[in-house]
Symmetry: D2
Subunit: 312 residues, 4 copies
């Protein structure tokens, strides 16, 4: 059993915090839980933790770290020792360095982004009047913007060491490998991994060049209609849609991709039930035989970005 | 007031009736109301008339005629006289020539397809067990296929005489011109016309070349989810989607285009509420100023056919 | 052909305008177009006319008048003469008496509420930023509250003279009688009438006692999910739902009923496609034979108000 | 960590197998995976295991057993020993006794139904043509009936020993207690427990009398519209709906209850996202303070069965 419970949050930098807040808060509808100095902490309507995304004003933009929550405090220490054994440089981060998050550890992973592991986290309640009367909901839907991401879903990273990254998550953290896109020569170009029942908590995609790229963070919407309304709102606000709406065969997602104009962070809105994997004996689904190109795992809808690169 | 009540049906030819029935009946889910010799008559689940589409096996495929229903029997005669006055050759068609349809007249229109006008039409009820207990519904939804067009919506034709065709419908039949796409030089490239409260019953699109083209027949689905499920079913059945799912700004339609592989007849699945025009003083909505190309009237979603031609 | 085009608006009184605005504006999401003295004028997101509901602070609450729009200015005069011939007292109302509405006439109808007929009406555009870029939409959906009625649908009145009222609308204004609920003894208890393609613009229900009652005004929502979200928002806000969500067999409506706590005005949220009647030869659908009680025209969902009276 | 992975299936008896199949197969749309002698094995469209419900023709009807799947074969043995230690009578069931299921153990639980634990299970694929091209889906949606349950969701049992049953699942199988309904005197009347990320895999409800009652088995539908269509189909087929459509506050479910007329087995159709619980530190949500009666955990919609008993 894994000592990790779930994807916790992704910490981003942006060259212009106010413009990024226009996008993520005003258009996307994420809730700002806390604001300190040059950092804003945000969450979806039904996220239970303090935040699932942070935005810090910085020169360049980019990803500061990707954080997973441990199943218990001991697992944080167990993983600290293990990463040390593996010769990885483990940084200790004090409680409160990130608002709402307790002590954590950070270290580099093969894909090139620092991974954070923490257990202690605040679960602040919205003030009276914003809190739902349904006690398993965080915010009252009355106060939702029209695009209303409900919860963080997954992160997607790219780089030359896709297989190594996937192995690392499987070997060290007991993730399951749910789906793989494999080319005819046996190379794995996309790998979808999960520690929860979701189709994936993290996906890694192989790039030919020796660059790493954070492809997107994904939030889940309840309904297809929400995805459609999101496209409508983006169009009314003059924000260009990267790709979609459409449906992937892999992960079974109804999707739409759009970028924060300020930070260039891409967000995937992911709607619909996808699938839930409660199977203890799940066999990795390999997409290979009958498909000739990676884009064939697409099911329908617009499929390419402005450079003709298929979305995943 | 117009003497025409609504778009009635479109009569198509197909080189392979069985293959067209596979598409329109088995995949699209239209109901076959009657079958005679080499012709099949089909309707949507909630169409009230005998049929709204016919398919006749013939060498080439194509459109035989587009039929509008008159508001009363006298209007058929009034229009017969008027078309005669205009120097048009008016053909009398006997009752029963088309199954379920009474006496009608046919004549050529500027756009190049014969127009039929009729009043008398049968409204057969489905047999017991297929009929809905809700008396304003024709078929029980229990018997619906998964793609279930509810009713005919509109026809869309193209040719060099778009403006003349639109004038003809306005002058002779009192259609309203709801929306227009106009290029910077003042040329109208697309015109959406209605005699009912729908966004359009017929649209005409200007082509540069001296060819006419029947662009599509459109059926209405109740819900966005139906449109999405249609795309899913088409993908499962290996039928390539022409364009969509997406949303037009003009007509406010959620759309998907797909062609019958046998006859090459294109069908637009049109979902969602669009708008209803009950205004006696509707001012034609002109799409011109801020848009540079015809495709800009697109709102979101895939927008081009395989030749890079924007869909309308 | 009728000289009336559509249901225009209903003018209500309320003992507490602010509390009614809390309900109709803040919870229901109708837009306040104009506010003058003790009257507020409201509309749905896609209503094209100045307003479709007005609320005036007054002692008692109740209905001031029900207004239909004429197809042209001449029809207002034609009806004024005709009502005069019928011995009805025709009141002339100056332009601007109601904000946005031109000269109109008012007179009593059998059911007991003053009917207003007008043609001239303003169609103000929302200010830049609130206006949709889709030119056939009035407001940008971005600015919609979570319950977002799109357009006025119908009014429903009750009284002892139901049949007389229905006859009046048919004889004087050429409404069609789309559906009827008839008891075994041949008495018509509910009659659904339309001058547009909607299932009804006005319904009249027979009461045994010699009282009149305005049962409800109805606004249309685009989707079933909107109806469901409306119920969710009402529950979060502690507003008790009168009945529903459910589905009527008659009119094929997905419905929910709720009352403004201040004025006791009941609003029916009506979602989904219902049916559109473009048939020139529609035969009145009579619900009689196999049903034993009026509530049987219900299809599913909660059906009774707090007094055990079935909703219609 | 629990050695149980998920709710596997519920085995029912019915006095009339053919009539039960009319209901569960023809109306409800469950797929019949295998049929042997007097037993039919059924599953939802996206259930991954051989079956999630079985129906055996028998005199009385009722529940034969409720089965959970273990996370691994060893856990079956561990639990066998543990139940033996607890003095429970552990029955060994040979592989194949139930079609598709390997060796299992069965024993009585406080609530009064035999519990089965197994690990080995077949995962047969539908024949070519019925299988989805999306490899994480079992059946092609093309072949779905209009009510199409996607996967088993939970079971709900009632009896006098509700608390003892909930303790048993927590103590022996490490289930989490997600939500509780507690009356003012501190008695727990409803307890919702999960071993997966679902709001509950099993719920137990306290009855005053010394009877046990299997309240319902629940299947999950993807969308609210599916729930609505289910109600429509049931109404067209003359099957009376027990309660709903409506929404629970507890579990956040959109629900509808209906009984198989032959076996009296109640099925809850459960639609929408509910919530997913990936939190390692979930605190049981207690519904007590502000609610005066059990029915208050209802959110909206019809809430009572024919005896005035609130649904849960």
């Amino acid at each position: 059993m894994s000592g990790l419970a779930k994807l916790g949050h992704v910490a981003f930098e942006t060259p212009d915090l106010e413009e990024s807040l226009w996008f993520f808060r005003d258009i996307m509808g994420l809730k700002v839980v806390e604001r300190e100095d040059d950092t804003a902490y945000l969450c979806g309507l039904r996220d239970y933790e303090h935040h699932t995304m942070s935005l810090t004003e910085g020169n360049e933009g980019g990803v500061d770290h990707i954080a997973f929550r441990a199943t218990d405090p001991e697992s944080v220490e167990t993983y600290a020792s293990r990463m040390d054994e593996l010769g990885l440089d483990v940084e200790r981060v004090d409680a409160g360095t990130e608002a709402g998050v307790g002590e954590s550890i950070r270290f580099e992973t093969p894909v090139g982004y620092p991974l954070e592991i923490y257990y202690d986290v605040e679960k602040p309640k919205p003030s009276e009047g914003k809190r739902s009367k349904i006690r398993t909901r965080r915010y009252s839907p009355e106060y939702a913007n029209r695009v209303y991401p409900q919860r963080i879903d997954h992160a997607h990273v790219q780089g030359p060491k896709a297989t190594e990254t996937a192995d690392f998550f499987q070997d060290e953290f007991d993730f399951g490998l749910n789906e793989v896109y494999r080319s005819a020569d046996g190379t794995d170009w996309g790998l979808w991994l999960a520690v929860t029942a979701l189709p994936h908590d993290i996906a890694v995609h192989r790039l030919e060049e020796d660059v790493r790229e954070f492809h997107h963070i994904s939030y889940h919407l309840d309904h297809l209609q929400d995805l459609w309304d999101a496209a409508d709102i983006l169009s009314e606000n003059g924000v260009e849609i990267d790709a979609g709406p459409g449906k992937h065969a892999i992960t079974n997602a109804n999707y739409l991709y759009v970028k924060d104009p300020a930070s260039d962070v891409r967000i995937e809105l992911f709607a619909g039930p996808g699938y839930l994997n409660f199977e203890p004996d799940w066999e990795t689904v390999v997409w290979q035989d009958e498909i000739g190109s990676e884009s064939d795992h697409q099911w329908f809808g617009e499929q390419y970005d402005e450079d003709g690169v298929p979305f995943v």
